[in-house]
């Protein structure tokens, strides 16, 4: 069964304290891995798509990396405005009847204190 597990569930950092969020997945042929940021009471905001092992994407203080079994979202010198829930999702390589729908993890809630 296709599955996505994110860890930790919650992470508290001091401003400037770099860290990483983990997304482990099992899927029958990965077609794409997606990272989203979600602020309280809002819809998820798309950050990155990764397609193959070894690929990296960067945006400001965020860098996403991908291996054959997991993805990391590295946060360098975070600021309080980086506080949010970060969601990971995978798309299987087969479409079948599900039209390649995304499978989401439960997210990591990040809090950055000044």
């Amino acid at each position: 069964e296709d599955q996505v597990t994110q860890s930790p569930e919650a992470l508290r950092l001091q401003e400037g304290e770099s860290s990483s969020l983990n997304c482990s997945y099992t899927v029958s042929g990965l077609r794409g891995l997606f990272w989203y940021r979600q602020d309280p009471g809002k819809g998820p905001e798309f950050l990155f798509t990764l397609y193959s092992a070894g690929e990296e994407k960067e945006k400001e203080r965020l860098k996403a990396t991908l291996t054959k079994k997991e993805s990391f979202l590295h946060i360098t010198a975070p600021k309080p405005e980086d506080s949010a829930t970060y969601l990971c999702a995978v798309q299987a390589g087969y479409y079948g009847g599900s039209q390649g729908n995304l499978i989401f993890g439960k997210g990591t809630k990040l809090s950055v204190k000044p």
Binding site: G41, G43, Q91, Y95, N101
Partner: protein
């Protein structure tokens, strides 16, 4: 650029009342459209998706239904709400099945 509108932002409805949530997408044609429900600690659950007008697929059996009367309009409905229908409902679109999803800002539904 493309934008997605979802309304209302919050809704409080009594048990047994009907429901209609609306979502529209601007700036694109023939998008794939989705309804998700997000419950605390349970992640995003796909409810319905549509790849074209009148084409609706349901992922889980439930008290809800969806319709796509126009190319860029997606509606989530219920004839009689249950307490268990409370949650955060999100509409999303993508250009095709190889593109990322883009979400609206959601509707917080409370059934009392």
């Amino acid at each position: 650029s493309q934008t997605i509108h979802q309304w209302p932002a919050t809704l409080v409805q009594p048990v047994g009342s009907p429901l209609s949530l609306e979502c529209t997408v601007e700036g694109t044609s023939n998008p794939n459209l989705y309804w998700y429900r997000q419950a605390a600690g349970r992640g995003l659950q796909l409810l319905f998706y549509s790849v074209g007008i009148g084409q609706i697929s349901s992922e889980v059996p439930q008290n809800l239904s969806a319709s796509r009367p126009q190319d860029r309009q997606f509606i989530l409905s219920s004839k009689k709400l249950l307490l268990s229908d409370s949650g955060f409902y999100l509409c999303a679109w993508r250009r095709d099945r190889n593109s990322p999803l883009h979400f609206g800002n959601g509707t917080r539904l409370t059934v009392t």
